[in-house]
Point group: C2
Chain length 125, copies 2
DNA sequence: TCTCAAGATAGATAGATGTCAAATTAGAGG
DNA sequence: CCTCTAATTTGACATCTATCTATCTTGAGA
C-alpha cells in the first residue's frame, strides 16, 4: 500500500560529523538534487503545521479528521498536503476502519536537521 | 545598503528546549507562516549548493563570479537565487570594488536546524 | 571621459503549485 | 443491499517560480 521505502538521505548518515555537512564541504549536484525535494515538502505553512500536529498528537499519530479540523481548508487540500509529505518520505499512514492515521517517519526530520546545523550525534549515549 | 535587518526567527530562541520545537507542541499558524519562507528559500537544489559553496569557501565568503562558475546557469539566474537567499535573511553581501561578496548570516541555518531536530543547546558548556 | 567587465534588473515564458468543487472509493452499520 | 461518513482522486484555475535574453548600473583603469 505505502508504495515503497525509498532510502531517504542515506547519504547523510555520517555519524561523527564535525559540523553541518552543508558547511563542511560543498554539496554535490546529486546531493542537492536529493535534498531539495525534502525541504520543498516542508517549505509550506500548512505542511509544517501538519507535521507538527502529527508529531505532537498523542501516540505520535493523528487521524486525518483531526488534522483537517485544525485548518480552514477543505479536506481535499489537506489530503493533497499529506500526500506530498508522504511521497517525500516524511510521514506514513495506515487505514484503521473508517479512519486513516498518519505518523512521522522516524529519523527523517532529524537527518534534515543535521544537514543544516551541528548535531548531537549519539546524544545521551 | 542591505535593506534592513529583519528579526528572523527570534521566536525560536528558546534555549533549553527538550526537543525539536516542531515535535514539542503544535506550531502556531503564525510560526508556520514565518518559517515556511525560510525553508522555501533553501528548498531548491541551486540555492542549497550556493549556501554550501559560500559556507565552505575560504574566509566564509565567496564572490559571485566564483559561484556563477560552479553552475551551468546564466549569471542573472544565479543573481536571482542569491537575491532569494538574501531576502530570506540567510545570507548578506557587500560590494568590494568590482566584485560582490556573499556570506552566511550566522545562526539562521542553525535555528532552522533546531526546529527540525534535537539540538545541542549550550553545547559543551 | 571612454571603455570594459561584474553584477543586477526587467520582461517574457514554460512549468510547478495550492486551492476548490465534483466525483470516486472504501468501511461501518442498519 | 442501501446509506452514511471518511478520505482520496480528478480536473480546473489562478498564482508563483526558475530560467533565459536583453538592458541597465557601477566601479576600475587607460
Amino acid at each position: 500500500m505505502s508504495k515503497q521505502r525509498l532510502p531517504i538521505l542515506s547519504l547523510v548518515e555520517d555519524e561523527g560529523a564535525c559540523c553541518a555537512p552543508l558547511v563542511c564541504e560543498p554539496l554535490s549536484e546529486t546531493e542537492a538534487a536529493e535534498l531539495a525535494p525534502l525541504f520543498k515538502a516542508i517549505a509550506d505553512p500548512v505542511r509544517l503545521r501538519l507535521l507538527s500536529l502529527i508529531a505532537c498528537h498523542e501516540g505520535g499519530e493523528a487521524c486525518v479528521c483531526d488534522l483537517t479540523a485544525a485548518f480552514e481548508l477543505t479536506a481535499p487540500t489537506i489530503s493533497h498536503h499529506l500526500k506530498v509529505l508522504k511521497q517525500a518520505g516524511l510521514i506514513d499512514s495506515e487505514r484503521r476502519g473508517t479512519w486513516v492515521y498518519y505518523w512521522l517517519n522516524p529519523g527523517v526530520l532529524g537527518r534534515l536537521s543535521a544537514i543544516l546545523g551541528p548535531r548531537v550525534t549519539a546524544a545521551v549515549s
